[in-house]
Amino acid sequence: MTLAWTATEMMTVVSARALSSSDVCFVGIGLPSAACNLARLTHAPGITLIYESGTIATKPRVLPLSIGDGELCDTALTTVSVPEMFRYWLQGGRITVGFLPGAQIDRFANLNTTVIGPYDRPTTRLPGSGGAPEIMTHCGEIFVTMKQGRRSFVDRLDFVTTFGHGEGGDHRARLGIRTKGPTRLITDLCVFEPDPETREMIVTAIHPGATRDEIRDATGWPVRFAASVAETAIPTETELETLRDLHARTRRAHGGGV
């Protein structure tokens, strides 16, 4: 089956739909940035976007290519220092939703972005923690976005960079964490949500065109499906047009400069 949209577009649209005008989002570069701005340009015009470079309530006309593009600062309500961003805004509990990617994820949405292999002698050295460990604990809830595959959706992480639901159950609460943690894992195939009891991420919606077998093949643990699994609504024309316009604008703006 050939779809009229790409897997990345589907992930972006699904992510955008989960946001509302009352959200204050901690936005990462790439897909999260596209999703948040798509939400802002469609159903969530009041959404507040914050990038960890310190830009608060920014309304970029084109997507930033780095976490600290001048465009983010130019269109922000104000820009604060990085220490203030991490203290008063993130740790201060003023963010409702954070987006995180991972190089590896496990069934409890713990993330690894540090190393593949042993820490002291890694086969692949990844970038490291960045803001992720504290984004995961301080934001009201977390959406994780990753393309699915057995190398990234693993049974056991090589390194726990970022604590999602830990060992599941009340593990977050036992560590004194009061935020919800990962409430959605949005992939190119489906949407996972935590089981209310075990906190294992289970499939609650499947994107049009994807199958349960595909999902099983792309997951390194025995994947579970919710009792009732929805089919993700296809992207609307408005969603796709707005997203493609945004990307086209971005390419035009950045293309000429280099």
Partner: protein
């Protein structure tokens, strides 16, 4: 009072072999020209500190300047890996490098603690993760009122901070605007500081009463290096050269290509080559 001097003299006077050096910049205002000068002067055994080591630290690591890296995110932003950094960590080339690895919250708080002359920083963090298992500089303190355990890391007090800013006046007072990063904290936390700026002006001009300014007496040396943040950017002067970041991936992947590039573009050049990037956006 800061002294206005040449970049060569400022680095020669400020950065010594074995120093702990923070060359900071958060996407905006990364002091590439100053880092190149450190490379040209063949500094060795540096402990390099930075929240977001990117191309400049990839270059310094690849050129063998660093014995240690204190950091929280090491990558080529929006592009991928830092290949020289990975080569050092994964294969010990040109020599092994020690890592002291943190999360952003820890580094940002540690700089602020250093600027405030505290021995450590306290914050809510590192819950449930593996980094404390491999970094003995992640410890805990207990709140004496609630009994809650919080994360603690040592304050960052580098020997030297190097940052790039927009402009300075003749007294060496430095203005930073736009994305601020941790540059003010890094300078105030360090024993010595070098600031490169796009221009030195008679007067900083009309500005907010609360403008972010580093007074001249907090800085050792101020050096005008127009374009000195390229390929990162200086707000109002020139834009980030995203193509350079993409292109760096290819250069840095290969040891020989990297060495050739460094020879042609750093070792055999001076800071004046950065001037061609100044005010490109405005032109």
């Amino acid at each position: 009072m800061s002294e206005v001097m040449s970049l060569h003299d400022a680095i020669a006077a400020t950065v010594h072999d074995g120093d702990t050096v923070a060359i900071e910049g958060f996407t905006h205002l990364i002091p590439h020209a100053a880092a190149h000068e450190v490379i040209r002067q063949r500094r060795r055994d540096l402990a390099l500190v930075r929240m977001t080591p990117d191309i400049v630290y990839d270059q310094m690591i690849g050129m063998g300047c660093a014995r240690k890296l204190v950091f929280s995110w090491g990558g080529n932003p929006g592009v991928g890996s830092l290949h020289r950094f990975r080569d050092a960590v994964e294969r010990g080339w040109p020599h092994p490098i020690a890592l002291e690895e943190h999360a952003h919250a820890a580094m940002a708080n540690a700089y602020a603690a250093g600027a405030a002359n505290l021995p450590f920083a306290v914050f809510r963090g590192y819950l449930g993760v593996d980094l404390p298992k491999v970094n003995p500089n992640i410890r805990h303190v207990t709140c004496p009122f609630t009994g809650e355990e919080l994360a603690a890391v040592p304050a960052l007090r580098p020997d030297v901070a190097i940052v790039h800013a927009l402009k300075a006046d003749r007294d060496g007072n430095v203005l930073i605007e736009g994305i601020l990063g941790v540059q003010k904290e890094a300078v105030l936390a360090a024993k010595r500081a070098v600031v490169t700026v796009e221009e030195i002006v008679d007067d900083l001009g009309p500005r907010s009463p609360n403008a972010v300014i580093l007074p001249g007496w907090t800085i050792g040396a101020v050096v005008a290096v127009p374009g000195g943040a390229y390929p990162s950017y200086a707000q109002g002067y020139y834009d980030r050269d995203n193509a350079f970041y993409l292109g760096w991936d290819r250069i840095a992947r290969d040891r020989d290509a990297f060495m050739a590039w460094m020879k042609a573009n750093v070792l055999e050049q001076g800071p004046e080559v950065f001037a061609r990037h100044r005010r490109r956006a405005a032109a």
